[in-house]
Amino acid sequence: MERRQRREMAGKVFEAVALAATVFGLVVLAMLLFDVARRGLGVLSWSFFTSYPSRFPEQAGIRSALLGTIWVMALTALFAVPLGVAAAIYLEEYAPRNRLTRFIELNINNLAGVPSIIYGLLGLELFVRGLKLERSILAGALTLSLLILPILIAASREALRAVPMSLREAAFALGATRWQVIRHQVLPVAFPGILTGMILALSRAIGETAPLITIGALTFIAFDPRGPLDKFTVLPIQIFNWVSRPQAGFHARAAGAILVLLAVLLSMNGLAIYLRYRLQRRYQW
């Protein structure tokens, strides 16, 4: 009997430890957010958004970084989304179970685990130097497109897989071709899932720093980017630059920029959850 009690006791202790471990990460997250807010809330003002970077911390702002982020994200979405969705459609709806398909899948799974800085080296040689795009927004967007492609493909495949087979079979029975089935039946139903995956993949890209540093995105940009071939900087690089300086004034600017970045990320994730909830209710099986 006593032995049984000891075993029960060990169980209770273990449960408490396991719960503590689960909560540990959340406590650290809270500390991180608190520290960023404590340091950064003070710098958030209208001029912080409208000023260019500066040697003087109290004058430095995120204007060019924010514009650069918007440019790069827009182009990344433009390149990566059609490519990712098309690849997902091929793998889910067309691909025969053969060696080539397995090889493609292995490639995608492995690419998802390649360090992002390696994509930077690829982008540097292929886009910046090979295609002579220089250190432009276009080169950055192409690099990030390749980086988020595996995430996009995985998310889109999941969305396509969730479409019931009966829907396809019904359309086939009416004499539709494969593409007609996909275009008119499968894609509309899978759309909310694909959209959610797209937003989540872009929220990964928006925080990426290392590959853009490697392709040579500059940190000091005191002008507005006007086109895809302009030089640029982005929010994470601006944050990196300010964190790396010794002055506390720049650390506060970094915290302020982090608040902006986290706010953008939060609204993107919120939008994804909302869209999934809103659009998916239309179909009920």
């Binding site: 075993r7 029960e8 169980g11 449960e15 396991a18 719960l19 471990a21 689960t22 540990f24 990460g25 959340l26 650290v28 997250l29 500390m31 991180l32 520290d35 960023v36 340091r39 990712g84 098309a86 690849a87 091929y90 067309y94 493609i104 490639n107 799974n109 492995n110 690419l111 685990g113 390649v114 360090p115 992002s116 800085i117 390696i118 690829l122 040689e125 390749l146 492609l149 493909i153 071709t177 593409w179 928006i206 925080g207 990426e208 720093t209 290392a210 540093i213 490697t214 040579g216 994470p236 944050i239 990196f240 964190v243 650390h251 970094a254 915290a255 982090i258 986290l262 990320l265 994730n269």
Partner: protein, 315 residues
């Protein structure tokens, strides 16, 4: 007769037209399929591109620096007058930060996976799981900020001789970032263990803890190991945290209190500097990148293998 033949010709023409339309449609279908296949092949081209870029730039490097020097020289000073090209200090730096990260993330991640899968009531799980995932969604540059400006000052109170840039803070912060990767993948593995195994153990009088430790974990071991390997690969390739908080001093040490340099941080350092392209100094980042790529490739392939295998077992 004339009428007949005209209508026959009409039918024939209509048939021909329909045949043409069908043929066009078939061509269209084929073209679309080709385009989609091309999109799927982009991932293959990307892998090929990475390998090609790294090899093309690394080959001239290894023509000037012998592989033996690269792998055994204990000094890495390619940007100094007295040049040494031994990657060991960078590998040691990467190993050190990754080891610290895993020492934190493996136990914490596994414990939270066990809690979420075996203990947590459904409602608690529904809150805790996505909350933990938030940790994985925070940009790494933000973790870098946190490591340098929060964790290091905090640790300095306990460890007075901690350097401003050090492997310990960077590693611990990286460990926090990796927790959700381990807990999420391990939980999938634990969750996939059939309930009947648990019920059989309970029927023999085992407590919940005994079921978790002696039945569920052994059954899910391969998935847990895979999550650890993927976490290690992630830690090796992590860049911004170590570039901000671990330092830029490639020394061969295993003392986590000191400033070190990882392979990834070195690539960042050169990218930010003004080393001209095409020089031996610049090519070092491709040689380092090649080592980094091969290391993570091996880890990823092993983990993918294990995951594939254990999936088959429980289907």
């Amino acid at each position: 007769m004339g009428l007949m033949s005209r209508s026959a010709a009409g039918i024939y023409a209509a048939r021909l037209q329909r045949g043409m339309a069908t043929r066009w449609r078939e061509w269209g279908e084929l073209a679309i399929q080709g385009l989609l296949l091309f999109a799927a092949m982009v991932s293959v081209f990307t892998t090929l591109g990475i390998v090609a870029v790294l090899v093309i730039e690394a080959v001239p490097f290894f023509q000037q620096v012998s592989l033996i020097e690269f792998l055994t020289d204990p000094q890495w000073t390619p940007l100094f007058a007295q040049k040494h090209f031994g990657i060991l200090p960078l590998v040691a730096g990467t190993f050190l930060t990754s080891a610290v990260a895993l020492a934190l993330a493996m136990p914490v991640g596994l414990l939270s996976a066990i809690y979420l899968s075996e203990y947590a009531p459904a409602r608690v799980r529904a809150i805790l799981k996505p909350a933990l995932e938030v940790l994985a969604g925070i940009p790494t540059v933000v973790y870098g900020y946190f490591a340098l400006l929060f964790v290091t000052p905090l640790l300095k109170r306990v460890i007075p001789d901690l350097e401003t840039f050090n492997a310990l803070s960077a590693g611990l912060t990286m460990g926090i970032m990796i927790i959700p990767l381990i807990s999420s993948l391990s939980e999938d593995a634990l969750y996939a263990v059939p309930g009947s195994l648990r019920e059989a153990a309970y029927a023999l009088g085992a407590t919940r803890l005994e079921v978790a430790l002696r039945v569920v974990i052994p059954a899910a071991l391969s998935g847990i190991v895979a999550s650890f390997i993927l976490a290690a690969s992630r830690a090796i390739g992590e860049t911004m945290i170590v570039a901000i908080a671990a330092g830029q001093r490639p020394i061969l040490t295993l003392d986590p209190r000191r400033a070190i340099e990882t392979m990834t941080a070195y690539i960042v350092q050169v990218s930010l500097g003004d080393t001209p392209h095409g020089t031996l100094e610049f090519r070092t980042i491709f040689a380092v990148g090649l080592v980094l790529f091969l290391l993570t490739l091996v880890f990823n392939l092993i983990a993918l293998r294990i995951i594939e295998r254990y999936r088959e077992v429980y289907r």
